[in-house]
Amino acid sequence: MELDFSILSKFQYALRLGLWTTLKLTVICIVLGCALGFAVGLARTSRNIAVRAVSSAYVEFFRGTPVLVQLFWIFFCLPLMLGVELSNFTSGVVALTLYMGAITSETFRASLKSIGPEQFDACVALGLPRNVQVINVVLPQAVLRAIPTLLSNCVSLFKESALVSAVGMADLMFVGQNISNNTARPVEVLTVVALIYFVIAFPLTRAVSVIEARILRKLAI
């Protein structure tokens, strides 16, 4: 078969619009998901059993089910249960934020755990009050250590965001599938869509390894 990539130039605008939706969705969910994840990460180390149980159940459930199922559940069931009409975009944001929150809370929990007990002993020896301990000693190290994993979570989220096409949101994947159905040229269109995703995700994964190496070096000193 002959390939003809020039047909894509006609659909530049549509693809750009789809990419914009994908990026907007990703960024919003990253910001909300990180905040949620940090809160849940703290909640999972709480001394209150009820808080710990609820937050653990949330995390395990969202990590133990496919994102596609979560999306369908939220798209079809949340409006029915709440009795309110939710727009496509809102449901997408809710679903992906909950997913991001679950995986990010694990990241924060691991980084909080990695701070050794000697750090706390040193704080006590220096006579630092509790709030100074948390803000100036624990938090910077925890966030620094979480950065590489956080970034790879962001890449995962970017990739998972393609799933919203399955529930009819006009993101990059949805636009691509529409074009390929209408032009009967799936090879060209889908390849270009895949390349667009790759071009964005690949530099981010590189950045993860660079930052990781740098942080490791910095912490090793």
């Binding site: 496919p66 994102v67 596609l68 559940w73 079809f76 990739k159 895949a194 995703y197």
Partner: protein
């Protein structure tokens, strides 16, 4: 809003049939991923740049594009490009297997690098051929070190297998979707579907946690 739940509307038989298809896909993809992932890891660690580069590109491509794009691509483009027509399940296994191969190759690479240099030197001193060194020294050690990550990746593939519903393979998700439209009971159906996925994944994640904790105890 008044909503009466009716879980009786959800018939389990089609869902379990779908679960069976999902599990088949998962197991087959895992066999491909675990076996060929190791070969792929060796290839991307090859000292020759010309060998290494194409395989690195392959791995990065599968790791940096959405799984759904890969699946749709393989379903639409492979028959057109290569003129091969396989049955949907085989295509699904191929798509998921290639994806898992890429992720497992990275896991193997990390643990191959962690195999102590002395062990390889000992292998050379004993006069083992390079193939024997890989089969008897590198593989067993690296495989054992990779087990937690391999299991995690395996269960991720189980969850990703829900994506094949989009290309009309009758897996658990597909059966759930058609049941939801047939019965007009999306809440109950999708809740049950989610619970089934959870019931399969959760024990495996617990096992991974257990393995990791045991490993840490052994190391410390």
């Amino acid at each position: 809003m008044e909503y009466t739940f009716d879980f009786n509307a959800v018939s389990l038989a089609p869902l379990l049939k779908g679960l069976w298809v999902s599990l088949e896909l998962t197991v087959a993809a895992n066999v491909i991923g675990i076996v060929f992932g190791f070969g792929l890891a060796l290839l991307i660690m090859s000292p020759f740049k010309l060998v290494r580069l194409p395989f690195m590109l392959f791995v990065e491509f599968f790791r940096c594009t959405p799984a759904i794009v890969q699946i749709v691509w393989i379903f639409y483009c492979v028959p057109m490009l290569f003129d091969v027509f396989l049955d949907p399940i085989t295509m699904g296994v191929l798509a998921l297997g290639l994806n898992l191969m890429a992720f497992n190759a990275e896991a193997y690479r990390a643990s191959i690098q962690a195999v102590p240099k002395e062990q390889i030197d000992a292998g050379i001193a004993l006069g083992l051929t390079p193939v024997q060194r890989i089969l008897h020294i590198v593989f067993p050690t690296a495989f054992r070190a990779s087990v937690p990550v391999l299991l995690t990746n395996g269960i991720v593939i189980f969850q990703q297998s829900a994506l094949v519903a989009i290309v009309a393979i009758q897996d658990l998700m597909y059966q759930g979707k058609s049941l939801a439209t047939e019965t007009y009971r999306p809440i109950e159906t999708f809740t049950v579907v989610a619970l089934i996925y959870f019931a399969v994944s959760f024990p495996v994640t617990q096992i991974v946690g257990l393995l990791e904790r045991r490993r840490q105890l052994l190391v410390s």
